[in-house]
């Protein structure tokens, strides 16, 4: 066995209790780091997956990014014009089907027209404000997972009756409505119509399930009092992560407001980023605290071994050999601690993954855990680096020791 490794192993072995405490510190740091990373990434992936599945990846609405210029703005070089009444724009996307056809030629994914409307739903004396979405059942299945989220009925059930509606299951529950119940929809435009409940869906998002209903495109157009209206084109891209770039191009080509799921959920995504920064800060702090233990043990060993260091140097061992001995000791503690930490981290992940709980926001009743070698590698790398740094300072001190100072003091 290599001399430095032999000496380092002997030092570490002969201080089993102190070494184990230092290893336990590193193991705890690594274990909890792995658990935190697995938990955070798992919940993030689960959240994004649910979000991406539930929402259209891109929503093209009839709003404009920038307000249109008034004719007076273009006719006069005035600094400011007062008292103008804005042009009344006809609602909806112009030539929606032609626009969809044009987009289909290059957008990698599926598109469908829809109508977004707001209404008051009445049933059995109960009123609720809801979002009504007019859809084409055949193409809807290509842009959302509504079809597989149906609890009762199918998307095709919308063709079963005049003015059919599919309700979120929580909304139906709050209203007391069941299949074949007739509910009344009233809009701010004084449109009232009676719709028959033909199905119920459960998206997993409480807000959606409590406040949404789907009707046929033409039914929503009646509610909006405008035949042929399409005020939103919904897009599902083949690669959800490419939605932002595609949305920008659509916006530039059509002039309409085109919002990717990333943009619409920007607040949530930035919250996730902040959460990740917090997580890595906490993980770093845990490992930093663990490295104090390593520093402590290496420092103690070098202090206890001052005489031995002097002996070795007087015999002719070079400073870098002495430094290497103590760095190897730190590495042994870091590596062994990290390996114990792997087991601890894995067991913590398994334990957390098996816990059942209820969340008010979604259906998931288990912690989403992401198992990745990256977490293990990252925690180990940080543990080893912090152990080496913790070991370097006392090792350097040991290497700089002048043997004659110790020998003179001992004799």
């Amino acid at each position: 066995m290599n001399l430095t490794l032999h000496i380092a192993l002997t030092h570490v072995r002969n201080r089993a209790r102190q070494t184990l405490v230092a290893m336990a510190g590193v193991a705890t740091g690594v274990g909890f780091s792995i658990m935190m990373a697995a938990l955070m990434q798992g919940s993030q992936e689960d959240f994004i997956k649910t979000l991406v599945d539930a929402l259209p990846h891109i929503a093209i609405s009839d709003d404009l990014r920038e307000p249109t210029l008034q004719p007076a703005d273009t006719a006069y070089a005035a600094a400011e014009i007062h008292g103008l009444t804005p042009n009344v724009r006809r609602r909806g996307i112009k030539n929606p089907m032609a626009t969809i056809d044009a987009l289909r030629s290059w957008v990698p994914g599926a598109l469908t027209p829809s109508v977004q409307s707001k209404a008051i739903i009445r049933f059995a004396g109960r009123n609720r404000s809801v979002s009504i979405i007019g859809i084409e059942p055949r193409s809807e299945a290509t842009v959302s997972n509504l079809a597989v989220k149906m609890r009762q009925g199918t998307l095709a059930s919308l063709y079963r009756a005049n003015n059919a509606i599919i309700l979120g299951d929580r909304l139906a529950e709050k209203l007391g409505a069941r299949i074949n119940s007739n509910v009344t929809l009233a809009t701010t435009g004084d449109v009232n119509l009676t719709a028959t409940v033909v199905g119920m869906f459960h998206s997993g998002f409480r807000m959606t399930d409590e406040n949404s209903g789907y009707v046929l495109l033409k039914t929503a157009q009646i509610l909006e009092n405008q035949t042929g209206l399409v005020n939103e084109i919904r897009v599902r891209t083949n690669d959800p992560m490419a939605a932002r770039l595609i949305a920008e191009r659509i916006g530039a080509e059509t002039g309409y407001k085109s919002i990717s799921w990333q943009e619409s959920q920007e607040d949530l995504l930035s919250t996730i980023q902040i959460r990740n920064i917090l997580m890595y800060t906490i993980v770093g702090a845990i490992l930093l605290v663990a490295s104090f233990g390593t520093y402590n043990i290496i420092s103690t060993i070098t202090h206890e071994k001052t005489r031995d260091i002097a002996i070795m140097k007087s015999l002719g061992l070079r400073s870098q050999t002495v430094r290497r001995i103590f760095l190897i000791e730190a590495l042994i503690i870091g590596l062994a601690g990290a390996m114990i930490g792997w087991v601890l981290g894995y067991l913590l992940c398994r334990g957390l993954g098996s816990l059942e709980f209820k969340t008010p926001f979604s259906d998931s009743n288990r912690m989403a855990i992401s198992y990745s070698w990256v977490h293990y590698g990252l925690a180990t790398a940080i543990a080893l680096i912090s152990s080496l740094v913790a070991g370097y300072l006392p090792a350097r001190k040991a290497a700089r020791l002048h043997p004659v100072d110790i020998i003179r003091g001992a004799t």
Binding site: L3, S314, G316, R318, S319
Partner: protein, 238 residues
């Protein structure tokens, strides 16, 4: 190695060596010492406590740096050597025996003796172990080779220290009060070993001692007083 006149250079040579500790009040440990120690010499460095005899030994053994002057090993100046170069000379050319044996307590005596050889790296592990055991056996410690220093008497530990000093087959053994901590029987044993190293194995031994009886039995006696050489006497050939 040969000098300019064709004579072999001394194994260790000190030229106007002084050592001053730069403290609040500077302390002079060694004052302008010039001496040369050749092959097969058995040298005693004597003097009262605090006279600077151990300090001189540390300077000759490259454990300490002179404030002035220079130390030459086999004719080669060590004045411009860095720590690692001096360590390399100590490892390969010099052997040390200290008053308090200075063995590593967590290692067996075989491992202690093997340590300088392993650091030098010229022999295989098997050769190192064989040589360590052979050295221990030659000093009457064959039965103790698997023990740690704690399991040995003071005299036995000092013999292990001698074995370790001989590990890399140096030409010079520097001993600082090698018998200072031993009873008379062990003192006699250790002295006999050192004498044997000179007479039978051609080594040079430089030993600091305050035991004048012991010093009287050595071939050359250098007396240090107040950090300077007071006398340098050679025994008459028997």
């Amino acid at each position: 190695m040969s000098g300019r006149d064709g004579m072999r250079a001394p194994l260790i040579e000190a030229r106007h060596v002084s050592r001053v500790l730069r403290e609040t009040v500077p302390v002079t440990l060694v004052r302008d010492i010039t001496l040369a120690i050749g092959e097969r010499e058995f040298v005693a460095i004597t003097g009262p406590s605090g006279s600077g005899k151990s300090s001189l030994l540390y300077l000759l053994g490259l454990l300490d740096l002179p404030s002035e002057g220079e130390v030459l090993i086999e004719g080669r100046s060590t004045a411009h050597m860095d720590d690692d170069e001096r360590a390399a000379v100590r490892l390969a050319r010099l052997g040390f025996v200290f008053q308090f044996h200075f063995l590593l307590p967590e290692f067996t005596i075989t491992e202690n003796v093997a340590l300088p050889m392993r650091a030098l790296g010229r022999l295989t592990e098997a050769e190192i172990t064989a040589r360590a055991e052979e050295l221990l056996a030659s000093l009457g410690l064959a039965d103790h080779r698997a023990k740690t220093p704690d399991g040995l008497s003071g005299g036995q530990r000092q013999r292990v220290a001698v074995a370790r000093a001989l590990a890399n087959d140096p030409l010079v053994i520097l001993a600082d009060e090698p018998t200072g901590n031993l009873d008379s029987k062990s003192t006699a044993q250790v002295f006999a070993i050192l004498r044997d190293l000179v007479d039978q194995h051609g080594k040079t031994v430089v030993a600091v001692t305050h035991d004048l009886n012991l010093a009287a039995r050595m071939d050359r006696r250098i007396e240090i007083v107040d950090g300077a050489i007071a006398s340098d006497l050679r025994a008459e050939p028997a």
